[in-house]
C-alpha cells in the first residue's frame, strides 16, 4: 500500500474537484455566461422538495363511473341509428346498471343480423342472449373489462393533458404531472404555488359546459314538489352579487337534453364592460356555430340556460337568431373568476370527474423556516462533532474532520449530479450522516490506538488499523444501506429523499473515511516519515 500515494491523491483530488464543480450552480447566485455556454459543466441546482420550497402536491382520482354511463348512453343512441339504417327491428334499447346495454329484438333473425353488426362495429362488447319476453328476445351487450380499463386509461391521459393545459394557461412555469395509469390517478406537483385553493378549483373542476333549454311550459314549483315532467331536470341558478358577495340560489326547470356542449369552443376571451362587468366571450367552431344558429333560430323568445358542471351560470332570453358562433357569459364575476372560467373553457372539459385523494401543501415561509432550522441543526451538530473529534483525537481528529467535510460536499454534489430531490427528511438524513460518518474513523483510530499500545510502530499501526477495521466498517454500514434501499423502493416523496441522501452518504462515507484518510496517513508516515502523531 506504500506505493501509488501520488496516484491515489490525484484520484481523490479529481473527485473533490468534480464534486465542487457540481455544487457551483447551487451556491452561486448567478452563473457566469461562459459557464452556461460550456455544456459539459453542470447547470442544475440541487432540487428542493415541496416541503422545503413550498408548493402543493395533489393526487387526483379519475372517477370513470359517470363518464362510463354517459359513454353507454352515447353508444346506445349510436346503435339505434345503426339499427335503423340496417333495418333491423327492435322494441327496446336501454343502458343497464351492469356496464352494459340491453336490447330487445322482435325476431331471432333480427338477433342474428344484429350479431353480425355488433361483431363489426362494437367488438369491445360481449353479447349474451337473455330471456325471451312478450316484447321479444332480450340481448345483453356488456362492455368487456379490457375495454373499460382502456377507456379509463384514455380518460386519465386526457385529463392529464387538459389539466396541464389549464395550468399552462394559468401561468405556472414549473410543474410535474404524471399519471398512475393502473390506478387511474394523476399526480401533480406544483412547486412555488401561492394560491392553492385557486389551483385546486382550476384543476379539479370538470368544466363541462352545456347549453340547455329552459322548460317554460311547466312550472318549477310543481316540479319541486316532486312532479318533474319526463325529460326535464331541476338545476340551480347561482348568482353572486359582485358587491356584497352574497349568493342567491334559484331553481330552474330545464330540458334534460343538451343542445350544445363546450367541446365546440375554439377560443375564450375576457372583456370588461361598464354594464355587465367581466364577461367571458366564447367563439365556437364551424359545426358549433351552425348548431348554435339553428338552436337560437328555433327558440327565439325562449330562455337558454348555460350550465357549468350542473350549475346554471345564467339563463338569458334568446332575442334573435345568432349566426356568428359567438356567445358571452356574464355572471357578476370577479376578474380572477372570469380568468379561471376562461381557462377552463379554453382548455376544455375533463373527460370524467376527478376527486382529490391526497393534498399536501406547504407555504413558502414554512419551507424556508425548515431550511433555516435544518441548516442551524446541521451547523450545531456538525460543530459538536468536529470539536469532539479534534479534542479527542488531536491531529488525527482533524484528518477525520477533513473527511467529514468532503463527505458532506459529495452528498450535496451527488444530489445535484443525479438530479435527486432534497427534502426535509433528506436534510435530516444528511445531518444524521454527519454524526454517523465519523464512526468509520473512530473504529480505525481505536484499532490504531490498540495496536500502538501493544508496541507497534505508527506505520505498522496505521497498516493494521485500516486492515482490521475496513471489513467491520463495510459490514456495519451494509445494514443501514439495506434499509436505505428498501426505503427508497417503498417510500414516497419526502421519505424517498431521506433514502437517497442516506444511500449517497453511506457510500461517500466509505470512500472518504476509509480511503481518503488512508492516503493522508500513508503520506505522513511514509513520505514524511512521521514516527508519532496525536491520536
Amino acid at each position: 500500500m506504500s506505493k501509488n500515494i501520488g496516484l491515489r491523491s490525484a484520484i481523490f483530488a479529481v473527485l473533490t474537484i468534480v464534486a465542487l464543480v457540481y455544487l457551483v450552480p447551487t451556491f452561486s447566485k448567478e452563473l457566469p455566461t461562459w459557464w452556461s455556454k460550456v455544456s459539459i459543466l453542470p447547470q442544475e441546482k440541487v432540487k428542493l422538495g415541496l416541503d422545503l420550497q413550498g408548493g402543493m402536491q395533489l393526487v387526483l382520482q379519475v372517477e370513470g363511473e359517470k363518464a362510463l354511463e354517459a359513454e353507454l348512453e352515447r353508444v346506445a343512441d349510436d346503435i339505434k341509428d345503426e339499427l335503423r339504417s340496417e333495418k333491423i327491428k327492435y322494441s327496446d334499447i336501454k343502458r343497464n346498471s351492469a356496464n352494459g346495454i340491453d336490447l330487445t329484438f322482435l325476431s331471432d333473425q333480427d338477433v342474428t343480423s344484429f350479431e353480425t353488426l355488433k361483431n363489426s362495429l362494437y367488438s369491445e362488447y360481449d353479447m349474451v342472449k337473455g330471456e325471451k319476453t312478450e316484447n321479444g328476445q332480450v340481448v345483453h351487450l356488456n362492455m368487456t373489462q379490457t375495454a373499460i380499463k382502456n377507456l379509463n386509461k384514455s380518460w386519465t391521459e386526457q385529463a392529464k393533458e387538459t389539466i396541464r393545459n389549464r395550468m399552462d394557461q394559468y401561468g405556472l412555469s414549473e410543474m410535474l404531472i404524471t399519471t398512475q395509469v393502473e390506478k387511474n390517478q394523476i399526480l401533480i406537483q406544483m412547486p412555488g404555488l401561492k394560491d392553492s385553493d385557486r389551483a385546486i378549483s382550476l384543476i379539479g373542476a370538470t368544466a363541462q359546459l352545456e347549453f340547455k333549454l329552459v322548460d317554460e311550459e311547466n312550472s318549477v314549483e310543481e316540479a319541486l314538489k316532486g312532479n318533474i315532467p319526463a325529460g326535464d331536470e331541476i338545476l340551480y341558478l347561482i348568482e353572486k352579487d359582485s358587491k356584497t358577495g352574497r349568493t342567491e340560489k334559484t331553481p330552474i326547470l330545464l330540458k334534460k337534453r343538451t343542445s350544445l356542449t363546450g367541446s365546440y369552443i375554439t377560443d375564450a376571451k375576457i372583456s370588461l364592460s361598464q354594464t355587465k362587468g367581466y364577461t367571458v366571450d366564447l367563439t365556437l367552431d364551424k359545426k358549433g356555430a351552425r348548431i348554435f344558429e339553428n338552436l337560437t333560430a328555433a327558440n327565439v323568445n325562449k330562455r337558454l340556460a348555460i350550465v357549468l358542471d350542473d350549475v346554471v351560470v345564467m339563463a338569458p332570453n334568446i332575442s334573435e337568431k345568432i349566426p356568428s358562433g359567438k356567445a358571452e357569459i356574464t355572471g357578476g364575476f370577479s376578474s380572477d373568476e372570469a380568468e379561471d372560467l376562461r381557462i377552463k373553457l379554453k382548455a376544455g372539459a375533463l373527460p370524467a370527474d376527478v376527486t382529490i385523494q391526497e393534498q399536501r401543501s406547504v407555504g413558502a415561509s414554512l419551507g424556508q423556516d425548515s431550511i433555516d432550522q435544518g441548516i442551524n441543526a446541521m451547523i450545531l451538530g456538525g460543530a459538536l462533532v468536529v470539536l469532539f473529534m479534534i479534542v479527542y483525537y488531536g491531529f488525527s481528529g482533524l484528518i477525520a474532520v477533513f473527511a467529514l467535510i468532503l463527505n458532506t460536499v459529495i452528498i450535496m454534489a451527488g444530489l445535484a449530479a443525479f438530479g435527486a430531490t432534497l427534502t426535509l427528511p433528506g436534510l435530516a438524513g444528511m445531518i444524521l450522516t454527519i454524526g454517523m460518518a465519523v464512526d468509520a474513523n473512530v473504529l480505525i483510530y481505536e484499532r490504531m490506538r490498540e495496536e500502538m499500545r501493544i508496541g507497534k510502530t505508527l506505520r505498522a499501526a496505521v497498516e493494521a488499523g485500516y486492515e482490521k477495521a475496513t471489513i467491520c466498517i463495510f459490514d456495519s454500514n451494509l445494514t443501514t444501506l439495506i434499509t436505505a434501499v428498501v426505503l427508497f423502493q417503498f417510500g414516497t416523496g419526502p421519505v424517498k429523499g431521506f433514502a437517497v441522501t442516506l444511500t449517497i452518504g453511506i457510500i461517500a462515507n466509505f470512500i472518504t473515511a476509509v480511503y481518503v484518510t488512508r492516503v493522508i496517513f500513508d503520506y505522513l508516515v511514509i513520505n514524511l516519515n512521521w514516527k508519532k502523531i496525536s491520536i
Binding site: D197, R360, S361, G381, G435, D439, L443, E450, R453
Partner: protein
C-alpha cells in the same frame, strides 16, 4: 484523550438480569400505553386532515376550536407546537377527520384562514395542509408495511449469514421466507400478518438451528423497536411515514454496534486457546469496544439532539425517534445482544472455533 480508559473491565454480563428487568419494565409500560391509547397513526396512514397554522399571538386551544366552527371541520385534536426561541409566534397543528364533501376541499385553505382572521384579526396563516383520502391512506399504509417487511426479510437473511458466517444457511432461510410468504399470500394474509409471520419464522429458524448470534441480534432489534414505539405511545406522538423511516434506519444503525461487538467476540474466540468462557469473552469484547460504541453513538446523539431542538416542528417526531433509538441502540448492544449469546449454555466453544 480518553473517555473510556483502556483496560477497563466493567462486569456488564453480571448486570444482565437487572438490565433485562429494566428493559421488560420499559417495554411493558410502553406497550400498555400503546394498547390503552390505541395506535396513534398520522394522517399518512389513517387518512384525514392535518393542518399547521401560525397565529400572530398565542391563543387558547378552545378558542381556536371555536374559531374554526364555521368551517365545519371534523376537528379531532388541536395541539400547540412551539419551536424554540420563537415565543412571539404561536404555531398549532389541527388534526381532523375525513371531509365528507369533497368539494369543500377546494376552498379549505381560504376558509380556514378567513375563519381564523375573523376571530383573531388579520395575519393568521395556514402553513401546511395535508389531506389524505381513504384510498391513498390505505396505499401508504401498505407501502410502509411492505418497507418494514422487506427490511426484516433482508436484514434477517443478512444477519444469519453475516453473524454466523454461514451463507448457505442464510440462503436456505431466504428460501424458507419466500415459501412462508407465498403460503401466507395464498391464504390471503394481510401485510401485517406477513410481517408477524416473517418475524416468527426468523426467530424459530434461528432457534431451531441454534444460530445464537443471529438470534441475539434479532432480540436486540425487537427490543429497540418496541422501546421506540412505546416511547411514542407514552408521549402521545404520532406514527407517520417519516417515523417508520426513522425506526427502520435506527434498526440498521443499532445492528451496526452489534456487528462490531460480535466481530470482536468472534475474533477472541478464534484466538483463545484452551478453555473458552463465552461469558468472560463477551464481557471483555464489550469492554474493548466500549470506547468506540460510546464515541460514535455520542456523535450521532449530538447531531440528533441538535436536530431535535433546532430542526423545527415538521421533523420533530423523526428526531425524537432517532433520539430514543440512539440510546436504546447502545444499550441493547451491551445489555441485550451480548447476554443473549449464552441462551444455550453448552457448545459455546465448538461454535466459536468454527466461526
Amino acid at each position: 484523550m480518553h473517555i473510556i480508559k483502556p483496560g477497563i473491565n466493567i462486569n456488564f454480563m453480571g448486570m444482565r438480569y437487572y438490565a433485562f428487568a429494566l428493559s421488560a419494565i420499559l417495554i411493558i409500560i410502553g406497550m400498555v400505553a400503546f394498547v390503552i391509547k390505541g395506535p396513534n397513526f398520522g394522517v399518512d396512514f389513517k387518512g384525514g386532515l392535518m393542518i399547521q397554522i401560525k397565529l400572530t399571538s398565542p391563543q387558547d386551544i378552545s378558542k381556536i376550536r371555536e374559531a374554526l366552527n364555521p368551517v365545519n371541520l371534523n376537528v379531532e385534536t388541536i395541539q400547540s407546537v412551539k419551536s424554540i426561541g420563537k415565543t412571539d409566534e404561536a404555531e398549532y397543528i389541527i388534526r381532523a377527520g375525513q371531509l365528507e364533501d369533497n368539494n369543500k376541499q377546494k376552498t379549505l385553505n381560504n376558509d380556514i384562514t378567513k375563519a381564523l382572521e375573523a376571530s383573531f384579526g388579520t395575519g393568521q396563516a395556514v402553513q401546511r395542509l395535508e389531506m389524505v383520502g381513504p384510498q391513498v391512506g390505505a396505499e401508504l399504509r401498505n407501502k410502509a408495511l411492505a418497507a418494514i417487511f422487506y427490511s426484516i426479510l433482508l436484514i434477517a437473511v443478512y444477519i444469519s449469514g453475516r453473524f454466523e458466517q454461514k451463507w448457505m444457511i442464510s440462503i436456505i432461510m431466504a428460501v424458507c421466507f419466500i415459501v412462508v410468504v407465498l403460503l401466507g399470500l395464498s391464504f390471503g394474509a394481510s401485510m401485517t400478518w406477513l410481517i408477524l409471520i416473517a418475524f416468527i419464522t426468523a426467530l424459530v429458524f434461528c432457534w431451531a438451528l441454534r444460530l445464537r448470534y443471529a438470534l441475539s441480534a434479532f432480540m436486540s432489534l425487537i427490543h429497540d423497536t418496541l422501546i421506540v414505539i412505546g416511547a411514542f405511545a407514552v408521549t402521545n406522538r404520532e406514527i407517520s411515514l417519516t417515523v417508520v423511516a426513522a425506526i427502520l434506519t435506527l434498526i440498521g444503525y443499532s445492528l451496526n454496534d452489534t456487528i462490531v461487538t460480535f466481530d470482536r467476540i468472534r475474533e477472541h474466540l478464534r484466538n483463545t486457546t484452551g478453555k473458552k468462557d463465552l461469558k468472560e469473552i463477551a464481557n471483555r469484547s464489550v469492554n474493548e469496544t466500549l470506547a468506540r460504541t460510546v464515541l460514535t453513538s455520542g456523535t450521532v446523539f449530538a447531531v440528533v439532539v441538535a436536530l431535535y431542538f433546532l430542526g423545527g416542528v415538521v421533523i420533530n417526531d423523526f428526531a425524537f425517534a432517532m433520539l430514543i433509538g440512539t440510546i436504546t441502540g447502545v444499550y441493547s448492544t451491551i445489555f441485550i445482544a451480548a447476554p443473549c449469546l449464552f441462551i444455550w449454555k453448552d457448545e459455546s466453544v465448538k461454535r466459536g472455533k468454527k466461526g
